[in-house]
Amino acid sequence: MIKKIKFVIIILFFSFIFFVFFKGLDKPNSYLPKKNITEIDTSLVFKNLYDQKEIVLGELISKNSFSIVNIWASWCLPCRDEHEYLLKLKNLNKINVIGINYKDKKSNATKFLSDLGNPYHEVLIDLDGTKSIEFGAIGVPETYLINNKIIVKKYIGPLDQSKLKDIIEIIKNEKK
């Protein structure tokens, strides 16, 4: 009798472990920070891509409306895929789209924009990647929806149709 109980307990124990690990398989491996609402430091100083003029971030981000900050690079392939969606966002004429050029060469970056179109109202550069860290970025491309100096939503990876819809929806709801 005791042997039988032991056997059942062991079987239950192993099936429990199996279940836990099996569930774990489905979990995405990449880590996303839980805290999404973070204030951004508006005193950050950036240089403009074209004329190297210094600009304070606070001047670009308007106080009471939405802005989009998109981190991109000419060497980043997914950035090419998301480009059409950024152009669509610009054509809405409702949001200020700011691009941050991440660890890139000026000649490559300007060629990228002249080939594919420039969706940005302002293109800033981040040569050593430290300024992107201030936004909480882990790579390119990343897009931030900002309202009132606070990051409302963060999109890691290239924009697509559903993310674009999401952005438009959020802006609509806020305006009501």
Partner: protein, 121 residues
């Protein structure tokens, strides 16, 4: 001629000495970056990794040290940006209390088992 050589020696030694003075910043960068998880490369610290993210992170740490920030302030800054996960040592809190307590419980439990086995014999 000999004088010139002497001056050259003294000059090079002072240069080496000055170089060493600057080096303590990099030691602190190493220490901090070893405690930071590289978020895009699994199982590596920022110190180990050569990814773009980790390289920028090291530059950022250097900048922050030069600004006069302490080690704790840098960790707090990064935790604010990336969440608790970025530091290797989790804080003791409601979510992590099990993590800290389970090894202790197992240790005590094992100790009890051993004591019982020995006393039975």
């Amino acid at each position: 001629m000999k004088k010139n050589k002497l001056i050259l020696y003294i000059l090079s030694f002072t240069l080496i000495f000055l170089n060493n003075l600057n080096a303590d910043n990099s030691q602190q960068i190493d220490k901090i970056s070893k405690n930071l998880r590289c978020l895009i490369c699994q199982g590596q610290s920022v110190y180990d990794s050569q990814s773009d993210f980790a390289l920028s992170m090291k530059v950022l740490i250097d900048n922050k040290i030069n600004e006069g920030k302490t080690e704790k302030e840098i960790y707090d800054f990064l935790k604010n940006k990336y969440g608790e996960w970025i530091v290797y040592e989790p804080e003791i809190g409601l979510n992590t209390i099990l993590l800290w307590v389970i090894p202790l419980i197992l240790f005590i439990f094992g100790g009890i088992l051993i004591v019982r086995k020995v006393s039975i014999k």
